[in-house]
Symmetry: C2
Subunit: 197 residues, 2 copies
């Protein structure tokens, strides 16, 4: 194993530190500050370890955890695009492709290709691992918002349909969890924090 290879891995790990400075719209549950994408990614991995038992199909948990760990790294260059921001979403794909090229490209080529493939798989939402990972990426902000007085739902005046649509990956990946998700959303509708037009 060459000195150069290890140096590339170290350089990538140093660059990855910047994900801790990418700020999301979601707050910590104690409302002390907004969440960053590195700690968000950690929370998804933890959620995946515990919620995997609720999935309808068999899948490779290691593969899903690796996917969740790297899924937001492109935000180091592309920033966090708010899920409900239509104009940001329109340019997101190209910005993230450029970011993937640069950031994963810091690694030895075999590892760059592996992480890039994991990221593309996450984005495509076609494999069981990717569908499950995307469901975790919806469930964790739901819990954050539900426990922080409406969180990013409140501040962005969303409707019930918008929130349900955003949460839909949970319905297909974790069918037995879905009714509880709908209960949480409906409680927020009842209290007026999510709009029912």
């Amino acid at each position: 194993m060459s000195h150069d290879r290890i140096a590339q891995q170290f350089a990538f790990l140093v660059e990855a530190d910047k994900l801790k400075t990418i700020i999301r719209r979601t707050s910590l549950i104690d409302l002390s500050r907004q969440e960053n994408s590195a700690e968000h990614s950690w929370h998804l991995v933890l959620a995946a370890m515990l919620m995997r038992e609720h999935t309808a199909v068999e899948f490779d948990l290691l593969h899903a955890l690796e996917m969740l760990t790297i899924h937001d790294l492109v935000e180091i260059d592309a920033g966090d695009t708010f899920a409900y921001d239509a104009s940001g979403q329109a340019t997101k794909a190209q910005r993230e492709l450029d970011a993937a090229e640069r950031i994963f490209g810091l690694l030895p080529s075999d590892q760059a290709a592996y992480l890039r493939a994991l990221w593309e798989e996450f984005e495509a939402r076609e494999t069981p691992e990717s569908r499950f990972a995307n469901a975790m990426d919806r469930l964790q902000p739901l819990l954050q918002n539900a426990r922080s007085d409406g969180g990013s739902w409140r501040t962005h005046d969303l409707t019930r349909d918008q929130v349900l649509d955003r949460m839909a990956p949970i319905e297909s990946a974790l069918p037995t969890v879905w009714p509880i998700v709908v209960e949480i959303i409906d409680a927020f509708c009842a209290s007026g924090l999510i709009r029912v037009p």
Copy 2:
């Protein structure tokens, strides 16, 4: 799968959010603030994915990633004990045992037992997965400190022997990486940031 079981998992995931407020001695590499234990845990999982190829023995990567994900959760109650703080280290074990009891105890009993066993395995440093996980827990702060002008080494006036002793788990788990770690430490000794008595 009962409603109660999912509610316990959600309550645990909400409690885990507090790990994002546990502040470590290590700074982010850009020196903008100190690191928290949740984003630190994420960084270790990422490091593990990339560095596993350097280990001397075969091991179960999924098991190591799960261990790294949960290894600091006890700090929600017990706080982060600085590695070089002797008096804090003396009371750390009991504080963390109490924390493990309460925090993992929020989960359904089978998952509580699983996470607790993972944490105990991490602390015991006896299995290949645990030795590797502990090596990651040393390597990441090394990179943070090396790229942030000495970081927690500088502010705590450490000697070369103290730092080498702290980094020793890297030597046994990742023997081919060790010479590069010693190079980094010696460069800091040469520049006067680590003391050579």
